[in-house]
């Protein structure tokens, strides 16, 4: 059975590193559910959060194959209940003045933000775990969603430990 696994991957911030990773997934037939990439506290290092749907045996192979890429510094699997996972979603929903207040109410329940209002639409920004984002979409659907965009998952382990508490990066932290 396929399970959702979240991998946090530290990579050297070099040209083509994302292609290397995406290409490795494609050519070995691994499936990426979502991918988010951005800078870290160290400008030479980027952090990728990959969500993959796979069996445990294949996950081990994915991690090993990732590790073989020269620009990959460290890989950590973030267990669901030991990590904070977030996605962000922007939803542009139909909202003429008559129903505007209903939509604002829904947004408030989800602690979402109204980021743009026009004559007959509202754009809502909502962050959270995937099920929360799906729930708000379900409630907004009847009003007519004009546009929707959703980021990949980003995640951090709970507690004090950081991903860069490891040998591969020690040298960088010193410098």
């Amino acid at each position: 059975m396929n399970h959702r696994h979240t991998l946090s991957v530290l990579v050297e911030n070099k040209p083509g590193v994302l292609t290397r990773i995406a290409g490795m997934f494609a050519r070995r037939g691994y499936n990426i559910h979502s991918l988010a990439v951005g800078p870290t506290e160290d400008e030479r290092v980027s952090r990728l959060t990959l969500v993959v749907g796979t069996e445990a045996v294949q996950l081990e192979q994915i991690i090993k194959q990732l590790n073989k890429l020269v620009h990959v510094l460290k890989i950590v699997e973030l267990e669901e209940n030991a990590a904070i996972e977030r996605e962000m979603q922007l939803v542009k929903v139909n909202a003429d003045p008559a129903i505007r207040s209903q939509i604002i109410e829904i947004a408030e329940v989800f602690r979402a933000k109204i980021v743009d209002v026009d004559h007959d639409s509202i754009t809502i920004e909502v962050a959270g775990n995937p099920s929360k984002l799906e729930a708000i979409v379900e409630l907004l659907q009847p009003y007519g969603i004009r546009e929707l965009v959703r980021s990949g998952t980003i995640a951090l382990a709970r507690g004090t430990r950081s991903i860069s508490d490891g040998s591969k990066l020690r040298m960088r932290q010193v410098s």
Binding site: E12, Q61, Q65, V70, H71
Partner: protein, 583 residues
């Protein structure tokens, strides 16, 4: 000292003790070919860039050093693709330097532009597009380091023309700093001890010796380890010679065209001690029927190979030579303490059984005493004449399998072929590269098929021009023999597009055209006398054509997709089985 990027390429290669590069000049790499006139290494001018990369591979196979090739951008770089993939599959340390269009023109579809780092990303261990002249020494030094360390492989460095021409202050630092690349060298001590315990309790242990042992040059350690514990050894296609075929513990080659005893040894074993091998489909046959009763110890420098195809009982990540040394250290320690005997498995009956299989199932040649020449006889005679001191290089197909089966290899690096990728056309350039590496005193004999030979024989010109005296033996059966064999066995003998007329081209005229001696043998009676004549010529390349019977097939054979249990030793056996199934 201010120098150009191109000069830095030369200096970097000199710093890395490169003695030979294989290449072909062209537009974007032109700046590098100017300082090359004064460079401290030889340049072999190939006739096609595929030749350059296969020569670099052959050089690396034969010397265990990094093979280097240098070509221009675009079509030249794309011509490296086959060889890079070949080197990736067989873990061959190769450095490819490619020219690129000027950095200002990248992305504009400029003349002879190709996204070479993009194209070669999946077929190199690593690659880099260099973006400044200052970076050149580091990029080349790092590429060398990555190519030859850990699990070796091809690395490509792509350098734009303007960066080759730019100047900078030369600097060189021997240290390599790649924070994301730290191959594990030593095996886990606990796993090493557990491996020995598991071996001690085995009844039918076999060492499944792979190409990793050849790359690690661990033949001495392997021999000592196997001998101390009395462990039978099979050597895969990539590991032929790493334990001498003449050794009493040598059982055979496993795999689709392995020796009968070699295939059976794995299949019947209760413990595979897998050293630098990767459970390739050509060895395992149908994976879920492979060695069904065997527990697995797997030693490999690449952690991703462990557990990839077969679940493992004892995984050991590390350089196989170092891990063998660790195993030997424990064994020697036990010897001192008088506890050695308890680590030796009781495999006397097993060894006797394998010995019996070996003698009951020899390879069959069935050579008539007169007339028609069998390919197997030709290959055996080539070995008889050039002997154990020679290096043998093969292409891909029937001739390759016969050369792997019939020649009794005795050392690592003595047998060079394209295993994982199965690259037809490999032999001619790889043999030239190997000869450039091993030098005057070691004969290099390419044993090629007529199909393979016609893919790359243009490189004979490079051998002649650069005075690299390789012996090219073409086993000419007038067919794409292995494809024909499959069509005969599995497609009811409906031959489709496999005929290559024996006279096309006339190989004696071809030898003549290249100005080298050519010999043709088509009768068994002339075999040795003619080969001796060719053997006497050592100062220039030689071409020997062996015209052989076209109906010969390679046996034993595990039919494609079948279990190793279904090994057949003759075509008759296969046809009988098919008839039985139809009945």
């Amino acid at each position: 000292m201010e120098i150009t990027g191109a000069q830095a390429v030369m200096k970097s290669l000199e710093m890395l003790d490169v003695d030979t590069v294989f290449g072909y000049p062209g537009g974007a790499i032109l700046p590098a070919y100017d300082p090359m006139i004064e460079a401290g290494f030889e340049h072999v001018l190939v006739r096609h860039e595929q030749g350059a990369i296969h020569m670099a591979e052959g050089y690396a196979h034969a010397t265990n050093r990094v093979g280097v090739c240098i070509v221009t951008s675009g079509p030249a770089a794309t011509n490296l693709v086959t060889g890079l993939t070949d080197a990736m599959m067989d873990s061959v340390p190769v450095l490819a330097i490619t020219g690129q269009v000027a950095s200002t023109a990248i992305g504009s579809d400029a003349f002879q532009e190709a996204d070479v780092t993009g194209i070669t990303m999946p077929i190199t261990k690593h690659n880099e597009l260099v973006t400044s002249a200052e970076r050149i020494p580091e990029a080349i030094k790092e590429a060398f380091h990555v190519a030859r360390s850990g699990r070796p492989g091809p690395v490509l460095v792509d350098i734009p023309k303007d960066i080759l021409s730019a100047t900078f202050e030369w600097h060189w630092d021997d240290r390599v700093d790649l924070p994301g690349y730290k191959p594990t060298v030593r095996g886990h001590g606990k796993m090493v001890r557990e491996a020995l315990d598991l071996i001690a309790s085995a009844e039918r242990p076999v060492i499944y010796a792979g190409g990793g042992l050849v790359r690690a040059r661990a033949a001495v350690e392997l021999e000592r380890f196997a001998s101390l514990l009395g462990l039978p050894v099979v050597t895969t296609l990539m590991a032929r010679g790493v334990l001498p075929d003449t050794h009493e513990l040598f059982v055979g080659m496993p795999g689709m065209h392995g020796h009968y005893a070699g295939v059976r040894a794995l299949q019947e074993s209760d413990l595979l001690i897998t050293l630098g091998a990767r459970f390739d489909d050509r060895v395992t046959g149908k994976l879920d029927a492979f060695a069904p009763e065997a527990k697995i110890i797997h030693v490999d420098v690449d952690p991703a190979e462990i557990g990839k195809n077969r679940e493992v009982d004892i995984p050991i990540v590390g350089d196989v030579k170092v891990v063998l040394e660790q195993l030997l250290t424990v064994l020697e320690d036990k010897q001192r303490k008088g506890q050695f005997e308890e680590l030796v498995p009781d495999a006397t009956a097993w060894r006797a059984h394998l010995g019996a299989l070996k003698s009951q199932h020899p390879l069959r040649v069935d050579q008539p005493e007169q007339g028609v020449l069998k390919p197997q006889s030709a290959i055996r005679a080539v070995y008889d004449v050039w002997g154990d001191e020679a290096v043998y290089v093969a292409g891909v197909g029937q001739h390759q399998m016969w050369a792997a089966q019939h020649i009794p290899y005795t050392r690592a690096g003595q047998w060079i072929n394209s295993g994982g990728l199965g690259t037809m056309g490999f032999a001619v350039p790889a043999a030239i590269g190997a000869k450039a590496g091993v030098g005057r005193d070691v004969p290099v004999v390419a044993i090629d098929g007529d199909g393979c030979f016609q893919m790359t024989f243009q490189e004979i010109a490079a051998a002649v021009q650069h005075d690299i005296p390789v012996v090219f033996v073409v086993i000419n059966n007038g067919y794409l023999g292995m494809v024909r064999q499959w069509q005969s066995l599995f497609y009811e003998d409906r031959l489709s597009q496999v005929a290559l007329p024996q006279d096309l081209p006339d190989l004696l005229k071809l030898a003549d055209a290249y100005g080298i001696p050519g010999f043709r043998i088509d009768r068994i009676e002339d075999l040795y006398t003619t080969l001796e004549k060719a053997h006497a010529i050592t100062d220039q390349p030689v071409l020997v054509e062996c015209r052989v019977h076209p109906d010969e097939m390679v046996f034993p054979m595990v039919p494609s997709g079948a279990s190793n249990e279904e090994l057949i030793e003759s075509a008759e056996e296969w046809y009988a089985r098919v008839a039985e199934q139809q009945a």
